[in-house]
């Protein structure tokens, strides 16, 4: 791809590990949409919530390095698909903008590290790019196949819509719903679309984390959803990875595929199952096979 691609891609650590399918589907979707995208060279970890818990200054510096690197490339849009990365980068911008002391420290650090001063890099989330830059109507037009009659719940998680509400409305986000509907999915009502999945809690205070995910899954089922669509690698992981454990604990027959938005959009645009990382699911494998491979002949071509 050309050197100064429109979108500079900031993967964050998860998209290189547990969230690899998010990266695969994102790049596939962007290719199908003919949106130029390029990975930010030598990016570092955003710091996530952990760094902020230890040092505000260091956390901001860590995030600032990425923003400075982005500026070096000449692209204006820094695309962070992970909710935590998105917010951490955005928050560091806010801290720099509102607190001169922090701004000063950032300036000093960048100078020492030989990096350029911060400029107006726009931190973007995938959902926002799909909704604003591409648009629901365009996605509808580009859709080549539809998941006829499949009911899904859209789950936004926390840090994309809160606290700034720039990706979508913090109370009642609808953009993912609109996109999913446009590409042919039946979207069910879902009260918990912005309730927290617990983030890293599944790894630290395991029972609490799993309980939160149980509630999310159960409510989705109650609303008749057959799958949940996410926009964050951690949400996807939490909802996907512990279903067996939840089944064992509660005895409830929960086995639900958890997708990334880019997997669903990418498939609707004609992407290949493996290219979209759909084979990497842990839960709901049967349904995934049914929808995306076995019943291939049943696909409706538009």
């Amino acid at each position: 791809m050309e050197p100064s691609a429109k979108y500079l891609y900031y993967p964050g650590c998860s998209l290189k590990g547990t969230g690899i399918a998010y990266e695969e589907s994102l790049l596939t979707t962007f290719r199908l949409l003919e949106l130029p995208i390029k990975e930010l060279p030598d990016w570092n970890c955003c710091g996530a919530t952990n760094y902020m818990s230890v040092s505000e200054t260091s956390a901001t510096l860590l995030a600032a390095r990425n923003l400075a690197l982005a500026r070096q490339t000449g692209s204006r849009d820094l695309l962070a698909p992970c909710n935590a990365c998105y917010l951490t980068l955005r928050k560091s911008q806010e801290l720099v903008a509102h607190y001169p002391k922090i701004a000063h420290e950032v300036e000093q650090f960048l100078e020492q590290a030989g990096l350029p001063r911060l400029d107006s890099v726009r931190v973007r989330h995938v959902l926002e790019v799909l909704y604003t830059d591409v648009g629901v109507e365009r996605l509808r037009e580009l859709t080549v196949r539809r998941l006829q009659g499949v009911r899904m719940a859209s789950y936004y998680g926390c840090q994309a819509v809160r606290p700034y509400g720039e990706v979508d409305d913090p109370h009642e986000p609808t953009r993912m719903d609109q996109i999913l509907k446009a590409v042919g999915v039946d979207v069910v009502e879902y009260n918990l679309k912005t309730k927290c999945c617990g983030g890293a809690l599944t790894g630290t205070i395991h029972d609490v984390g799993v309980r939160l995910n149980y509630i999310l899954l159960k409510e989705a089922m109650r609303q008749g959803a057959q799958a949940i669509v996410t926009i964050c690698p951690l949400c996807q992981f939490n909802l996907d990875a512990y279903q067996a454990e939840i089944r064992k604990q509660t005895g409830e027959p929960i086995d639900m595929p958890i997708f990334y938005l880019t997997q669903i959009v990418g498939w609707a645009l004609g992407g290949d199952v493996r290219e979209l990382g759909l084979h990497r699911a842990i839960s709901g494998k049967k349904l995934i096979e049914q929808w995306f491979t076995v019943k291939k002949e049943a696909e409706t071509y538009v």
Binding site: C13, S14, K16, G17, T18, G19, I20, D42, W43, N44, C45, G47, A48, T49, N50, Y51, M52, S53, V54, S55, E56, T57, S58, A59, L61, L62, R65, L95, H98, Y99, F109, Q112, A113, L115, C158, Q159, R162, P163, G165, P170, H171, T194, K195, C196, G198, G199, A200, L201, G203, T204, I205, H206, V208, A241, Y242, A244, E245, R280, A281, I282
Partner: protein, 189 residues
């Protein structure tokens, strides 16, 4: 019996005053103790003191009671409280601030996994520029509660067979640039 009374000399009002000067904590004094934060919080049901009580305690200078609470470590930074607060208090930022003070003062619950995770994480990121999920979880478990590793076996296997578990130690190229970031635990003010 343990006496529950608080003498006024135990209240660190100077600390409380300084607290409201920190980024994000400016509106703390506007709190009307309505409890929307606690009601909204998905994790308040596990907390020893509710977020509302945290604010009341901070405001009244009961520093030690707040710093040793599990509440601040249960906060998953979902920002629901900050968005709902009728007084626009950035409760999430208040929690972050308290976490930092707790770590600096070493008063968090020992072998409690969350502060350990945070420190491990920072250490790894500062040294290598990236976080390798597998190694981070592994080291955290070793330091806090190795028994957890057993329960994680299944998840690990699931991830492994779907190609989502990378054991590579990630590292950025220009790691030298990170040396100018002060060691996280040294933050003072």
């Amino acid at each position: 019996m343990e006496r529950q009374i608080r003498y006024q000399r135990e209240a660190d009002l100077e600390w409380a005053h300084r607290f409201t000067q920190h980024p994000g904590c400016e509106r703390l004094l506007s709190c009307i103790q309505c409890g929307t934060c606690s009601g909204t919080c998905p994790l308040s049901i596990y907390m020893d003191i509710t977020p509302r009580q945290v604010i009341a305690m901070v405001r009244e200078g009961f520093r030690d009671d707040v710093l040793k609470s599990k509440t601040i470590w249960l906060c998953a930074s979902c920002y629901a409280c900050s968005v709902e607060c009728p007084q626009k208090i950035n409760i999430t930022d208040v929690m972050y601030r308290l976490k930092r003070e707790a770590i600096q003062n070493n008063v968090f619950p020992k072998r409690f996994p969350i502060p350990v995770l945070a420190q491990e994480f920072c250490e790894m990121v500062r040294r290598r520029g990236r976080n390798s999920e597998f190694w981070m979880v592994f080291r955290m478990a070793l330091r806090s509660n190795p028994a957890i590793l057993l329960s994680m076996m299944r998840t690990g296997w699931d991830l492994w067979r779907t190609g989502r578990l990378s054991m590579r130690m990630e590292r950025i190229q220009r790691v030298n640039e990170l040396q100018y970031i002060p060691a996280a635990t040294k933050e003072v003010d």
